[in-house]
Amino acid sequence: MGRYLLRRLLQLVPVFIGTTFLIYWLVWSVPGDPFAGKCGDRGCPPNYRAMMTEKYHLDDSIWVQYASYMKNLFQGDFGITFGGREISDIIATSYPNTLKLAVVALAIEAIIGLGAGVLTGLRRNGFLDNLVLVSSLFLIALPVFVIGFVLQWFLGVKWGIITPTVSNEMRFSELLVPGFVLGSASSAYIARVARTSIAENRRADYVRTAIAKGLPMRRVVGVHLLRNSLIPVVTLLGTDLGALMGGAIITEGIFGINGIGRQVLRAIVTKESATVVGIVVVLVVVYLVMNLLVDLLYAALDPRIRYE
């Protein structure tokens, strides 16, 4: 187990380096003047330029730039924006908002997805089954921004059930609709995976054995069947959490949530390259760590894959 963990951690390193370098290169190697438009109409003063150039090694090769950037990063220095704001501050204020939204979205998609999936998996080909199948297709097929817009328009503007945008305090009730929008496609996937898994496992030999043992159906389904069928669902939820924590650029944009997605979008558009890289590094680390946790979770749930 320990060796497995070590091996996975070692695999993370080249991936981390690869992804962060890729982003760094993409963002910083844009031809043109990196200072364009940063300091208003009159352009940036020369000593400012000199300072920034030195700080970010803009005169050196991309490798040196990247290396020194990473060195600073590991010491906790994310650098500053061209406007002078601490990038780490930007991250610290906006990421918690994203996390809140992510957790709400995960909860909603788990409840809806599991509920629909378990019910239809146990009882196939009913009205409920077809309803779930069709609506899940819709949720998967509609792009997030369409769902977001439509819900915002109907629930927020037309019927006034919710506030169209989320306030600064980010109350839980305000996050329900954005959370649903964010998790809509995933809840459809979860419902389908749960449904398929349960339907397949129902015909499994071990279920037959459990019935042959004379166990009450309640236990056969609730303990034996679910424990096995929900393994892929739980790992899917875990993977999704990793993706959710990667920021929901569109949902945050539509509902006005000051999360990390919004920050990175703004930074890209205004060519705040250091901010972009800083945020992406954080997101990549989170994503990689979450993936590792999901793998461990899978091993914890399924004893067959533990002894690799």
Partner: protein, 342 residues
């Protein structure tokens, strides 16, 4: 009233208080492509302390009969269309689901061919055995664990205490089958149905498992139904043998009688096809043809297309299961000739 005179009943057809009886059972499978008549009037019984072997090829209906007895038949597509399954004289097919459930494990238990897929992969073996004690007998966790370890001991698994916490995939095939046997005997059932228990195992392990089953049966005075297609396995263990073909019993006899003088061409063919040492260098004998399509069973005797002794009457009339005395029966128009030949 069954079309065959079922062995074990008196002339008027009343049950004579056997432990487990299948009486003129009929089961069909209704699928998109048609209806397959899987079981067409099967009657057999088993008493305490005796072993009935049910022999047949794939598709003969032997496993489906067992599943119907246990009540684990896949419905749909399987449907019971006639007959009775009596346990201590009471027809289980007419019982409520709850009554049937209570019989499982306590009255009648079953073990399966593939122990790896039959056991739940995410729970320890010990958990799955102890579960019976906890859920059905209301024991505490600690007591159930103790009893489970005892059961593992009884099936001769070394280091039972340590193995309690192992998962099914951590056992070898033979050990796993023993564990499954332990699980099935936890509640002291009166009848054990063993559906091809050794088919997936090595020959030496096969012998060990069969020995174990025999021993446990004797100790507990259980009735055992052994389902198999392997003539070798049957000889040592069975008291009586019922041979099935195309969903019917075609011959039933005491084990010695069957091997010495089979009374049905199919049984004859099966015995004939066993390779023998003194026939080295000769071509292996087989029964020509294939088992019938159960959606379209040939008229008359289902075996007639493959039977070397088929006569016109075989294609017209379904042979009834004739009683031949001494507990023998055979469903062949020429059964008596076969029995009386030299």
């Amino acid at each position: 009233m069954s079309e065959q005179s079922a062995p074990g009943t008196d002339g008027s057809g009343r049950p004579s208080g056997r432990l487990l009886e299948v009486d003129d059972l009929r089961v069909e499978f209704r699928t998109r492509d048609g209806v397959a008549k899987v079981i067409n009037g099967v009657t057999y019984h088993v008493d305490a302390g005796e072993t009935l072997a049910v022999l047949g090829e794939s598709g003969s209906g032997k496993s489906v009969t067992a599943q119907t007895i246990m009540g684990i038949l896949d419905t749909p597509p399987g449907f019971v269309t006639g007959g009775q399954v009596r346990f201590h004289g009471k027809d289980m097919l007419k019982m409520s689901a709850e009554q049937r459930r209570r019989i499982r494990g306590e009255g009648i238990a079953m073990i399966f061919q593939d122990s790896l897929s039959a056991l739940n992969p995410v729970f320890t073996v010990g958990f799955q055995i102890a579960e019976q004690f906890r859920v059905r007998r209301g024991m505490s966790r600690a007591d159930a664990k103790k009893r489970a370890i005892e059961m593992l001991d009884q099936v001769k698994i070394p280091n039972a205490k340590g193995r309690y916490s192992n998962y099914p995939h951590q056992f070898s095939g033979g050990m796993r089958q023993r564990a499954m046997i332990a699980m099935s005997l936890a509640l002291d059932p009166e009848v054990l149905i063993a559906d091809e228990p050794t088919t997936a195992l090595d020959v030496t392990v096969q012998a060990q498992i069969m020995d174990l089953l025999g021993e446990l049966q004797r100790e507990r005075r259980m009735g055992m139904i052994l389902i198999t297609h392997d003539l070798g396995v049957v000889a040592d263990v069975a008291d009586r043998i019922a041979v099935m073909y195309a969903g019917r019993i075609v011959e039933e006899a005491d084990v010695y009688d069957l091997y010495a003088k089979p009374a049905h061409p199919y049984t004859l063919g099966l015995l004939d096809s066993i390779p023998r040492m003194d026939e080295k260098g000769q071509e292996l004998r087989t029964i020509k043809g294939l088992p019938p399509n159960l959606m379209n069973i040939p008229p008359g005797c289902a075996f007639n297309p493959r039977c070397p002794m088929a006569q016109p009457v075989c294609r017209e009339k379904v042979p009834p299961l004739l009683q031949l005395g001494r507990g023998r029966a055979s469903a062949c128009h020429f059964a008596e000739e076969l029995v009386n030949r030299d």
